[in-house]
Every structure is written in C-alpha cells, then in structure tokens.
Symmetry: C2
Subunit: 783 residues, 2 copies
Amino acid sequence: MGEESSLLKESTSINDTNMVEEVEERDPESNPLNEPLLKRNRTLSSNPLALVGAKVSYIESLDYEINENDLFKQDWRSRSRTQVLQYIFWKWTLAFLVGLLTGVIATLINLAVENIAGYKFLAVVNFIQKERYLRGFLYFTGINFLLTFVASILCVCFAPTAAGPGIPEIKAYLNGVDTPNMYGATTLFVKIIGSIGAVSAGLDLGKEGPLVHIGSCIASLLGQGGPDNYRIKWRWLRYFNNDRDRRDLITCGASSGVCAAFRAPVGGVLFALEEVATWWRSALLWRTFFSTAVVVVVLRASIELCHKGKCGLFGEGGLIMYDVSDVTVRYNVMDIIPVVIIGVLGGVLGSLYNYLLHKVLRVYNLINQKGKMYKLLLSLSVAIFTSACQYGLPFLAKCTPCDPSLSDVCPTNGRSGNFKQFNCPKGYYNDLATLLLTTNDDAVRNIFSTNTPLEYQPSSIIIFFALYCILGLITFGIAVPSGLFLPIILMGSGYGRLLGILMGPHTNIDQGLFAVLGAASLMAGSMRMTVSLCVIFLELTNNLLLLPITMIVLLIAKTVGDSFNPSIYEIILHLKGLPFMDANPEPWMRNLTVGELVDVKPAVVSFKGVEKVANIVNALKNTTHNGFPVMDCGLVPTTGVANEATELHGIILRAHLIQVRKKKWFLKERRRTEEWEVREKFTWVELAEREGNIEDVAVTKEEMEMFVDLHPLTNTTPFTVLESMSVAKAMVLFRQVGLRHMLVVPKYQASGVSPVIGILTRQDLLAYNILTVFPHLAKSKRK
Amino acid sequence: MGEESSLLKESTSINDTNMVEEVEERDPESNPLNEPLLKRNRTLSSNPLALVGAKVSYIESLDYEINENDLFKQDWRSRSRTQVLQYIFWKWTLAFLVGLLTGVIATLINLAVENIAGYKFLAVVNFIQKERYLRGFLYFTGINFLLTFVASILCVCFAPTAAGPGIPEIKAYLNGVDTPNMYGATTLFVKIIGSIGAVSAGLDLGKEGPLVHIGSCIASLLGQGGPDNYRIKWRWLRYFNNDRDRRDLITCGASSGVCAAFRAPVGGVLFALEEVATWWRSALLWRTFFSTAVVVVVLRASIELCHKGKCGLFGEGGLIMYDVSDVTVRYNVMDIIPVVIIGVLGGVLGSLYNYLLHKVLRVYNLINQKGKMYKLLLSLSVAIFTSACQYGLPFLAKCTPCDPSLSDVCPTNGRSGNFKQFNCPKGYYNDLATLLLTTNDDAVRNIFSTNTPLEYQPSSIIIFFALYCILGLITFGIAVPSGLFLPIILMGSGYGRLLGILMGPHTNIDQGLFAVLGAASLMAGSMRMTVSLCVIFLELTNNLLLLPITMIVLLIAKTVGDSFNPSIYEIILHLKGLPFMDANPEPWMRNLTVGELVDVKPAVVSFKGVEKVANIVNALKNTTHNGFPVMDCGLVPTTGVANEATELHGIILRAHLIQVRKKKWFLKERRRTEEWEVREKFTWVELAEREGNIEDVAVTKEEMEMFVDLHPLTNTTPFTVLESMSVAKAMVLFRQVGLRHMLVVPKYQASGVSPVIGILTRQDLLAYNILTVFPHLAKSKRK
C-alpha cells in the first residue's frame, strides 16, 4: 500500500496509534447544541508525517455523488420498468406523507400551546381581577418554570441536538455535511414536546425553527422506514437508503416545516430554496411544492374542525396569520422616506443583533460546557426573568381610557384580543399588558393591528422593544427548542411601530404597517433573506399591495446588514464548526493550485486492483481516510506502446472495505473475480447504507495473506482535476456536483508517475483551513 | 500539429476545403424564426477522417467558464479595491436601469395598445350604433390588416428573430447556447413596434413573451454599452464584456419582462428561476428581485400618472390585473371534485395543444421557408380570419336582457367593460361581443368576472372556446412578435367557465374562479411550470385564499401533461434545433464512457507550447474547433524520473489565436516570452470579447516560419474527466459548471500516451447526437 503514491513524494510511515477508535467514543450528550461539533483541526500541514492517521474531523461528508461501481451498474441495469414506476410512486407518496405528518404535528403543537397558555392566562386574569397580584405572579411564574423545566430537561438529557432551531444543521446537511444525531426519533419527540413546553412558557422564542427541524426529522424517519432500532424493512424502502434521496426528502421536510409555521406554502418552498438547500433541481421544486400544498390543506382542514369549538381554547387565531388585508394601503412618493429609514435601521439593528448574539452564544457555550446542571439552571433562570418582566412591567404603564366606539372589544379580559384590562378599572385598558401578558403570537397580532393609531403610548412601546431586545439575546442559546423568527419579529415590530408613532403626522402609512415593515426589515437585517421573506410576509399579511414597499425595505436592510457581518445562520454554522461550503470561492483561491494544496497533505494511500488483505486491514486501522484510489499496473492495452503503464481504476470507499472485511470476501490467489461472485456476496443496498463502524471481526494470520479483488466495488467514475487547476475552480466543481472525494491527477504524462497525486475533501477546500497553511494568502486577501 | 494527439490513433490528414468561410455567410434573414437554426449534424462519426474540418454547427457555446490564462490572472491580481467596488456599483446600477427601462417600455407599449385599440373599438361601436354593419366590418378588418402588416413586414425584413415569443431562445442562451442575432438594437426596436401592432390588431397573442425578450435585449444592450455600431466605450463597461456577466444581466432582463407583463415581481423572479435559467446563484436571486422591484415601482408610478386621464384611453385597466380579491372564497371538501376535473382536463388539453401546435408549426415552417412574401401573406390571412370571426360571430348570439340591479354598468358601449350592447336594443347586451369584440386583456377580465353567474350563455362560451382554440393554434407561428401566455389563458378561461356553468348547482365556487382555474390548469398543462405560475396567478388575481386550490390544479395538470409530451418550450427548442442541455442525463448514458465517445470523434488537434505560425494558421483554416489543447514535452521536473514526459499546459481558444494572428504577435525564434511582452500586446478586455470572425490578415511566407508563444494565452485550468467517466456524470459536470470544452484525459499513466485523448463539447453530449452513433443504446432505453 502506498507504493504508487510514494513515487512523487518520499514514502511515509504510517502512524500506528489507533486513533480511529476515538470516533466510536463520540457521545451524543457530550455534543450539546452550543458546543462546536468540530474542533477545527489543521487538515493541511506542512509536515505530512505528523498528520498521517490523525483524526481530521468527527464530521464526514455525505455521498451525494453516485458511486458507479460494478454492483451499482448491475443493479441499475436490472431495474425493471415496474421498479422505476414503483420508485416514482413511493417518492411522491413519501412527499405526501411528509406534508401530511408535518401538518398534523404542527396542528397538534398549536393546539397544545394555545390550550396550555390559554388556561394559564385565564387563571392569571382571574387572580388579577380579584387583585391578588402576588398570587397571580407566583402562579404565572410557577407554571412557566415548570413548562421550561420539562422542555429543558428533555433537551439536556435525551436529545441535545433538539435544542435551538436546527435550521443551521439542516443547511449543513443539505450542503453535504453529515451532522450527527440530527434526525432520530428521540430528537423528533423531544423537539415536539420541548417546543410545546418552551412556547407555552411564554419564553421569547418561536415554534417556526423547530417546525422546520420536525419536518426534516419526519422526512428522514419516513425515508429510512422508522427509528433506527425499529426499522421497517420493506423492499421498496431500499430505494431511499442513500444520501441523495434522503437529501431530497429532507428538503421537502424543511419546506413543509416553514409552510406549517407560517401557513405560507410558496414561502416555504422559497425558504428551502434560498436559505436551506445547496443544490436544487426543477423536479425538487415541484415535489417540495406538493408537500407544502398538502400541509396547507391539512392546516385548513384542522382550522375548519376547530372552528366548531371542539379544540378547547384553540380558535381561529391558533395558526399564526396576521391579516392586514382590510387596510387600504395608500402611499405616495414621499412615503419612500420612512420606508428607507426603516430599511436602514433594520439593517443596522439586525447586524448589531447578530454581533451581540454571537458574543452571548460564546459566553453561553462556556456555561453550557460545564455540565447538564448548568444548562438546566441557565434555562430556568431565563424563564424566571422572562416571567417576572412579562408580569411586572405592565404595572408601570398608565391605564388608558377606551375609545367609546370600540366599547364592544375594549377592554377585554379573555386570553387573547387587543385592549387588555389587566389592573385597570372598567372602561380602561393597559396597553403594555396587551403586548406582554399574552402569547407571542397574540402579541405580534396586537402590535400589527391596524387602524388603532392611539392604542399604544410611546413609553409602552419603548419598554416592549427594550425588553424583547434583552430577551431575544439571552433566550436563544438556552437548551430548549427555539426558533429565531418570532423573537426577531417581536423586536422588529416594536421599533417599527415606534417609528410609526414618531412619523405619524408626516405619512399616510398605518402604524400597523410600520410594525410589519419593521419586523420584515429586522429579519432581512439579521437573516439576510429576500425573496423568501418577502413571500412569507406576503402570505402572512395577505396584502399584495404591501409588496413593493416590503421589497424595498428588505433590499435595503439586507444590503446594510451585509456590509457589517454575515447572516445569523452563517454565524451559528461557524460557531458550531460545521464545515459548510460557501457558494463563492474567495478571490485569493485563484492564486493557488490544487497541486500546491495536495503537496502539503499527507501522501495518498492507494491499493492495487487485487490487494493483499493485510494491506487493507492496516490501511483501515492506521488511517481515517474514507476513500482510497485503486490502481493497476500493466501495459497500455490499446496501443503498441511498450512502456510500463499505471492505470487508475477508480476510488473505493472505506465503508465498502469494511463490508469486505466483515463478510470476509477473501481470495486464496491473486486473481480477478467474476461478476456472479461479487453479486452472490453483496447487494447494492448493503453497500449504499452508510455504515461508519469498523467492527472488530478478527482476521486470522492466514487470512491476512489472502487477497481481495477490489475491482467490482470500486467507483470507476471519480471526478478528477489536473494538478494545475486553481482551488477556486476546484471548489466550484466540488460544490456544484456534490462531491466527497476529488482526485488530483498529474498534468504530466510519463512512466513512473502516479496517476493520482492527491485526494481533496471538503475540509481541504475550506478557506479557513487553507489559510492556516498558506497564511500569506490572507494578506493578499486584503489588498 | 496533431503530433501528440496522433499517438493513440492513426494520424489524420486535415481536409483542405475551407469550410470555415461558410460560417461567415450566415445571414440573419436566412434564419427565420420557424426554420431550425441548426440542421442537426452528426457530430460523432465512426469514421473520423470524413468529418475533420466539417462544420459541426452554426451555433457555438458561450464561455461561461472563467478562462484562467496569464493575462486574466494578471488582470485579476491588479484589480484594486476601488475597481472592485466600481464593478459592484455598476452591476447594481445596470440591474436598476434594466428594471427602469423595461418598466418604461412596458408602460409605453400598454399606452400605445390601449389607445390604438381603444379608438379602433370606439369607431367600430359608432358604426354599429348607426347599424352600418358592413362599413364597421371593413373598418375593423382594415385597421387590423394594416397593424398586422406593419408588425409583420418589420419582422420579416429587419429582424426575423423578433418573431415569436423569444423565450425559448433566451432559455437556450442561459443554458450556454450562443443564439445568434437575438439581442441587437434592431431586434429590440422591431419587437416593440411589432408587439404594439400585433396586439392592437386583436390577434390571438399576448405581449408577455415579447416583454421578456424586450427585457433581455435591454439588458444585453446596456451591458455592452449600446448597439453594435455605436457602442459607448466607457472604461467600466469592460467589466461586463464577458459571457458570465451578460448572462446575469439577461436573467435580470427576463425577470423584469415577466414582472412588467403581469405586474408580478415575485412571479417574475420565479419564472426566470424555474423556466428560463440554467444556473442560479443566491446573489442573482437578489439582483433579479431588485430589478423586478424597480419595474413594479415604475408601473405603479405610471398608473398613478395616467389615473388623472392624461394618457388618452389608457385607464386603470391598462396593465393586466384581474382582481378577484373581492370574492369571498368559500369551498369545502366536496369542491375538490371539480378542482380535480379541471386539473385533469387542463393536463389533457394542454398536452393536446402542444401536440397540435407542433404539427402546425411544422407546416408553417414549410410555408415560411418559401420566402418573405409567403411569410407576410400567412400573417395577413391569419389577421383577416381573426378579424372576421371576432366581428362576425357575435351576430350569432342572442341578446340578453340586463339585470335591473346592474343598470348602471349594463349595457355598455365604451371600448372596455362588461355587458357590451353591440347590436342589441337598449337594456340588452350581447354576451359574445363582450368576449370577442374587445382587447384580449379585457376579454380575460370579462370572462374572469365574478358574481355574474348568469352573464354568459353556454353556447356563447362554447363558440368563444372553439374560436380561441383555432386561433391559438394558427396564430403562434406567424411572423409577428407573439406571446403564448395570453392565448392559453383565453382558451383555458373558456373551458373553465364552461365547466363552471355545468357544475353550477353542485359547487360553491364562483364561475369567475372556475375561469381562473381553467386558465391556470391549461398553462400548467402546456408550459409545465408550477411554482412560478402559482405565484403569477396569485399576484394577478390578488387573492391568497385561492392558493391551495390553484396549487392542486397546477400539480394535477402538470402531472397529467408530463405523461403525454414535453412542455411547449421544449418542443419549440427542439423545432429550432437549439442544442439545449437537459438537467437530467438519460438512464442509458450510464452505460457509455466518455472514452467510447471520443473514440468515434476526429482526433484532437493540439499545439506545442511554442508553436510554428504555419501550424496555427493551418489549424484555424482547416478545422472549426474552438479549443485546442496546448502541450509541452520535456522531463518531469519535480522527480528524478528520467522518462520523457508530456505536459498538458491547458487549452487555447480559437478567438485568442485569431487575435494573435491579427496582431501578428510572432517571434523570430522558438522561445518563451516574458510577461511584459504579452501585456504590451494584448489586454484582457480584448481577449474577453467574443470575436468569431477570422479576418484575412495575410500572413507572409516568412512569417509562416516564425513562432508563437501560446503559454500566456492558454487557459491553464480546463476541466478534465478520465476516459472511464460515464457520459451521465460528464454531462452533469458539463452543465453544472457551464463548460464549453471538456478535456478527456487517459486513465493510463505512461510515456508516449497523449495527456489529452479527446475534447467533448455541448453537441457531443446531446442525447440525440449520441444515439445517432450508438443506436443500440436507444434499444436499451426502452427496457
């Protein structure tokens, strides 16, 4: 092994320490949300000896490339027309099921949240009416504490990956990063219960991000036929046991989640397209669209059912929908000024939020790393702080007399609705209680309310805005399922409405619309999406005439934000250390060739077409490489050239070598096998499954001297680049085609030159990793 | 020349006939819309000798790949921060200008159409009121004849590429096909005037497709600084003188066009994304969105201006917008049945329309090929037939009494509005005249009108539907700018409303909505778009509650349609012979390697790093290849291997060789040049321009014996594939990365083997071309 690859470089002795085992020790619990999943290792090193066999990363790339080995080709050819139709049928059925289940679960979450929070608020209102303020406070805080405790303890003990929104991890997965423990049944369960608990507890977080994760979990579980230990082994499911089809399903799931969160089917598809997915095909556009259509139908059916009052306190308002379609939007050219101001402010505040959240998350990381107890305490203290503010602050507000024309809705004492009475006498309402002592959904609905120009006092809005700025920063990092959409909407609507009050005399735009635009601008300033946000807001507010000004606000806010820092999702990806591959190469990447890059990497470990078992076993043990080139020696067959030639047969995956070892497919003599021999031993389905574990099947000394024919298992069509290729172009190829390994071939054609001079993986092409080895490029970067 | 490439194959003698010249003879007028732009040649041949130097195609690929030669790298490195900012600034400014100009031109077209058609109809109504029916007919037909004549004569004589919608050609351009004469100033002018003429003439065509083409023309002209002969040579414009930036601009233009056509900004972006563009980046999503936002603002401003009555007959209705937002959409579970029926019918009728239109276009091709006179006559006879039907058929309808509650709007005698009086007595209206004797926009508005369940008699709708089926088939292929959207909407709304009348008693859905759904289903059944159509309809109808049923209708119609035939745009692409590269490889492509493909191609013509002038001149003259590999011989420098080695330096473009010849950059001796030498002679800008002409700069006999150093002009980073790569994967690479040439390298490493065994281009990877050489693959296809 390594004979061929050592021709161009000095031969390298393989480090014997068995570092592979460390991969096994990975523990889900030691890998909590806020801890970087990957300690960035220097993949590249100027000293190859030191790094051979070193663990590069816990996280591997996915096999989005089609592994065209003999077995695959055979399977491909033998697929009958019926099987192809069966595959198509199940693909659509799964998309349907993903939509259906996501819709049903979203309904259940909403039902639970509205009922739990509803009864909680009814009780609190009761206490307040009887002027038992302290008892009301204890009751309110106690319930919220309990709910947060349930959500947090589940996340901390059973599924750390269920904390947070999950969107960055899904984004990384669709980029080709195998994020661990993301799509299990436990994660799904914890995410659902935790989300219900955290949202009912009135924490400053939404169920939107979690719903995206829930959709993806459902998709992944459906695709593999159930949870890991209880999988259904139906024959047709084998078609979906590969990374490519799973990717498509998870994209459907993510779209369905967004759709379920905002009742925005087109917005859901666009969100997946703009923010989440890395690759996109027209066929996928259509399938995700189908899933979201199913979700919408389910949601509509559930609303129709609940309309008849059979769902407890879940009424019409249960599913987020801030209808401002009854406003006649009137604006003229001069209204462009407030619109621009909102956009600029949104961009500045959004990037400031990103900056501060980054700092807070790093502090939280330190706290969370100390242990489960600390995580739990952090969550609970945030919950208590939130409850105290929500209950206590409204007492600061003065009571406002109701407008007599609104006497039928003002004041109200129910759990939802505008103009909360709270501690005020009859005929008066407390505007701050209207915003704070309610569910987040209702708070948004109230602050978006139009044609109510005098409802809120500026001081109340300022308190509301300040509180949600603080809560938005301290809540996101705690160990409960939390979405980012709602906190940002709350903050944004606060400053939007405030701006509306200030500008009131100079503009035609309604204050409610100001709040909507403020929310949109802050989202664009922080998340940096445009088209999808625009469509989501369109579908949320149900008002097409808002579209042009929304677009302008979004564009300005994104532009301003981009000039300060990256989007919040990118910041989180970076914090988690996920090797996400950007769409655009850095400019300095044009000045570096892949040849220079592989020069500083350890030498390639390659195999002969028919290789000794001992060599394979050693290579598996002593390296962590996931792909090995397979080469043959001989004469060039097609020409009369008498020279000795080396043939590059392809690349073989570690997973397949492990299968060979497990099944002991060893040959007594050095020979090529027949097709039936390999088909007897392996099926394509087995090989398509991702199996990382190297199980310790003892290989006897005799067996060590035997041979393995690697030809039938080798992917004969790897993607290659010349060594003179620039890193920028190589990166485009890597990302566009979705590779895991890219072979670097020499630009020279001569005997004695190895046909492969290196292999590049995702880690090697990340800008950060390259700069650690070639720091001088960083300088040219700033030029 | 060809020394290296002939090592693996027999050396090939170059055919001396100067076939390159034929490319020059290409005449815009000999290349009309309906004639295949490309006679499919057998690119691949089992007899290489016969094909060397043969003309492969008139149509070349674009250089979407970055040509990383020394000059480019030097230019890239020397770009200062200011220049980069300048580039970004101008990129956005151009996107803004594209939106602005497209919006303005769309407004002008609307203004002209509404006024011309309006005064025409007012005059006709006058004649009819005086019961001078024959004179009215002559007037009506005469005006329409004249308008069609203007539109048609312009298209026939000045810009044949301005006929038709232009969308398929734009789609091909963005796929990487250099469609000729598409984006000139003449084309733009003819398209605008022709579109006004054809639409005012009442022909069954829309201005939607033409607007997309107009937007693209504007974008292209702006990017290159004006029409070909009067270009502004501003310095900053040089950044946009390359195929990549032009592609981005044209995408912006296409989105703006759709947006201007439907006042649908999000729909415009999605249309470009789903239907038109091949590559898509997040950055582009944002820029196109910006352009469409500008268009919407322009349109809104123009409507505001015209509201005050300063635009002649151009009123509110001028810009298409079928507002059905006032309808309270009520539907229950049982309404799914009519929705499914509409979807299925739409799919069947849509694919039937595609099938019949294909047949009609082939017949029209034969007629149009006979000469300009025939083209003109065809257009004019269609115009006369259309006018006769539109004027004559309403006489068949019975007069209907007006509903007394609608007495203020019924009957009407104006140029637009529902309930046309036509030949009826007072208090009565002619429902067929309401649909036929009006502009197409108004016809759609009238048939979409809601809460008018008794307005139309079934017999009138049947006549309307039948007429527009016929007109939709015979109008599209004539030599005027014509869009496909409106004819399909008219047809679809006809059968939708008919279905609504039939189902009336059994459903809650309004007849107007039935018409909308019918139009949507027929568009999905014919054009096979989903998400973008859905959003366009959403923005057109301004009713979000329609969304779920629209989605279901679209999905069903597309599914049904796809099971019969490809989309209408694909059919037109195929008819025009544009080498469009599909997103998905055919299954049988996995069974073929690129090695087998290049084996049947003529041998590669390659150059040495420093090549004799005579060899270059001959190669340029005797082949039509657009890329030549550059190879050097010598020892492998990095290792001590003593073997003779061949180094692949890269690939050089024909255009650059022509520049070398034009500038006579010849060396007396065989030597490598210094960097300053080449920089003195060439600038990157000159090389980036597409210049196909081989100008006959005489090369003296002495010069023939001189040398050229090709190194600095060679793209050193070409994309390569191993000969064992499957065609399916190679095609994915080719399309995803946007290549023009793909080098095939040997999998063997040995002395005496050429480092390049073949070059694959777009034509080689088209399924049709491969099947002509490997017919046996077609059989396995059906398996």
